[in-house]
């Protein structure tokens, strides 16, 4: 039962991702992304990571997606314009991607016999995650704040109106 559900949600997830790329209108793409995020949450749940699943729904499927949709509406983004696309990408990209993903899939299947973890073997409950996050992984957690800070600064720098001839904007 577990396996069937897992595969089903996996299929939904991949289908959503493909649809995201194929859709021409940004709103449709954003909504397909919700499908991807939601089915990923289900996958996490099936793997026994209930806390991560909940966070996935709240943060990604909820907050982040709302932001996406807001931005699309504010920018009033219309339908994508068709471009021819590069020929190199057509000739090498698609076969390359197929070969690459098949190769990785093959490696994963080959490996799965070795020592697969049972569902729920990795830390799932909030308590363990809290301990990991604020103890073992305290430094990466704190350093992430610098990452967010420079991302905000970058957005400010690149989005601000170009400086006038005087250097600073008056």
């Amino acid at each position: 039962m577990h396996l069937i559900l897992f595969l089903a949600f996996g299929a939904v997830c991949v289908a959503g991702a493909v649809n995201l790329l194929v859709q021409k209108h940004p709103i449709n793409s954003a909504l397909s992304l919700v499908v991807v995020m939601g089915s990923l949450a289900a996958e996490y749940l099936l793997l026994g990571a209930e806390f991560v699943a909940a966070v996935q729904v709240i943060v990604y499927a909820g907050a982040v997606m709302v932001l996406f949709v807001f931005v699309i509406m504010l920018l009033n983004a219309g339908e994508e314009e068709e471009t021819k696309g590069s020929r190199v990408a057509m000739i090498f990209g698609i076969p390359g991607m197929l070969v690459g993903s098949l190769l990785i899939a093959w490696v994963l299947i080959e490996h799965s016999g070795n020592k697969s973890l049972a569902a729920g073997a990795l830390p799932g409950p909030p308590k363990t995650i809290g301990w990991l996050l604020f103890h073992d992984y305290l430094l990466p957690f704190e350093v992430t704040s610098v990452l967010v800070l420079i991302a905000i600064m970058g957005a400010v720098v690149l989005a601000a109106a170009p400086a006038s001839a005087g250097g600073r904007k008056d």
């Binding site: 080959e110 350093v143 420079i150 005087g166 904007k169």
Partner: protein, 495 residues
């Protein structure tokens, strides 16, 4: 169990850089609020703005110098910090020093550049300092999760810095291109980390090494290494992940190019050294062989036909990534020191070369083609002589750092019996000599077609050039001490 004082001491350079980054950021915002009130008279406001920016730059410079000092403090506390996230050893101290020094030199170069190009400089200095913090962290991180976050800090700051010439469309193009391809590459790295975790059950580099050494190496680990290498190979501009390099380098501000072709690369090379040698990455030699040979060949052949000096140096940096990677295929006990030495001397000569390019470019980076350099030897003998030395070092002529760098790398490869790769490398050096010499010939032997103004060298830039020049020659005349320091690291690792 709270972090101890020693934990913070082991992280001191990063803390110093981040704090100074914040100071610059806040000072910039505060100054801007006041500047608006004052700038009723435009020209007075403008002069004041310039002064504020000079002060911000000076604070940033103090920050980078403080970080250099902090590395000496950090060196007194070898060991692990923050529950095995960070390891301070002579290896990480070496790269901390290198990154902080490059940062200082780049800030010195930027003073003049910012003024000539009329770029708002506040966030610029802050981003450089934050980026340097990320790069330093990368070189001491022994946990792949932390490596990833530090890599993102350094990458995002360079993406933004690349787009700082707001009035040039080519700069925005470079920023966007770098950002899109770079995020794609980071995703590869992250996937590789995930697969590595699947193969070994850990993201700690030392533990991964133990697991991979102890038993049969699972196929998954090969896939993990390959994917991580794709991500890191992109960041160091190794072929076949190099396509972005010429466009990004051409569009980005020249001091930034000097920065991002040295400091982040040095940090990524440090991470690669840890992954390849300490984590005992399987399939190392074959992978490196192909990528190194490709990078050297593509870089050098590409540079032959370039007319824009920034593009030319971009291809040259691809080629140099290739030479450096040769050391990764060698045995650890002479491959590691060779790679460290190469990183240091490449940083010195490349930062110097880009400092000259950014001074000579003048407003809007107008003079960047090879033709503009004709007759430079007569109009500004000092500038031309400096650039000549950096170029000779890039070729690998004796008494410059570039010579010993190449020498150690190739001899390390020979000791590992990689004769084929060394032949490819030496042939490539010969090809490379052609286009570097072409610049020198143009500078000294060709009459200028048009009058290109050469500004006086300001104090900051003078210092920057002097530091890079002295380092380049020091490494070329007395390489012993640096090499010995690097070898001690290698023996400490391999014991």
């Amino acid at each position: 169990m709270l972090p101890q004082t020693a934990d913070y001491m082991r992280l001191l350079p990063e803390i110093v850089l981040t704090v100074f980054g914040m100071i610059v950021m806040v000072m910039d915002a505060a100054a801007e609020g006041r500047g608006e009130g004052r700038s009723r008279g435009r020209s007075i406001g403008r002069i004041k703005d310039r002064r504020i920016e000079k002060i911000l730059g000076a604070v940033a410079l103090v920050g980078s110098l403080a970080a250099i000092t902090a590395t000496f403090v950090q060196a007194q506390y070898p060991g692990f910090a923050f529950w095995n996230m960070v390891q301070v050893d002579s290896f990480s101290v070496f790269f901390h020093f290198l990154v902080a020094a490059v940062t200082a030199v780049v800030i010195l170069t930027s003073f003049e550049y910012m003024e000539v190009q009329q770029i708002r400089a506040g966030e610029y200095y802050a981003l450089i300092l934050f980026g340097a913090a990320g790069m330093s962290l990368m070189s001491s991180a022994v946990e792949l999760v932390l490596v990833f976050i530090a890599l993102e800090i350094s990458s995002i700051s360079t993406y933004v810095l690349a787009g700082f010439r707001r009035r040039a469309a080519i700069s925005s193009e470079s920023s966007v291109k770098y950002f899109l391809l770079g995020s794609f590459a980071t995703a590869f790295f992250l996937y590789g980390v995930a697969l590595m975790f699947g193969a070994t059950g850990s993201t700690n580099i030392a533990t991964i090494g133990d697991v991979l050494r102890s038993g049969q190496i699972p196929l998954l680990a090969y896939a993990g290494v390959a994917l991580m290498f794709v991500g890191l190979g992109f960041k160091v501009a190794a072929a076949p992940f190099h396509i972005w390099t010429p466009d990004v380098y051409e569009g980005a501000p020249s001091p930034v190019v000097g920065f991002m072709s040295t400091a982040p690369k040095a940090a990524v090379f440090a991470v690669l050294l840890r992954i390849m040698f300490e984590a005992h990455a399987p399939g190392r030699i074959g992978l490196i062989w192909v990528v190194a040979a490709l990078s050297m060949t593509i870089g050098n052949l590409g540079a032959l036909v370039q007319d824009n000096i920034k593009r030319l140096l971009a291809y040259s940096s691809i080629a140099h990534a290739g030479y450096l990677l040769v050391a990764y295929a060698a045995l650890p006990d002479n491959g590691i020191p060779a790679a460290m030495f190469y990183t240091a001397s490449y940083a010195a000569m490349n930062v110097g070369a880009f400092a000259v390019v950014s001074h000579f470019g003048s407003a809007g980076e107008r003079y960047v083609t090879l033709g503009d350099y004709s007759g430079l030897g007569r109009r500004s003998p000092l500038l031309a002589a400096t650039l000549t030395i950096f170029l000779l070092s890039l070729i690998g002529i004796p008494i410059t750092g570039g010579f010993f760098a190449k020498f150690y790398v190739f001899s390390a490869a020979l000791q590992a019996n990689l004769v084929g790769l060394v032949i490819v490398g030496v042939l490539n050096s010969a090809v490379g000599a052609y286009y570097y010499l072409r610049i020198i010939v143009v500078m000294y032997m060709r009459e200028p077609q048009q009058e290109v103004p050469v500004a006086r060298i300001p104090v900051g830039l003078g210092f920057a050039l002097a530091i890079s020049l002295v380092t380049t020659i020091y490494l070329g005349v007395l390489p012993g001490r640096v090499l010995e320091y690097a070898s001690r690291t290698a023996t400490a690792w391999m014991r």
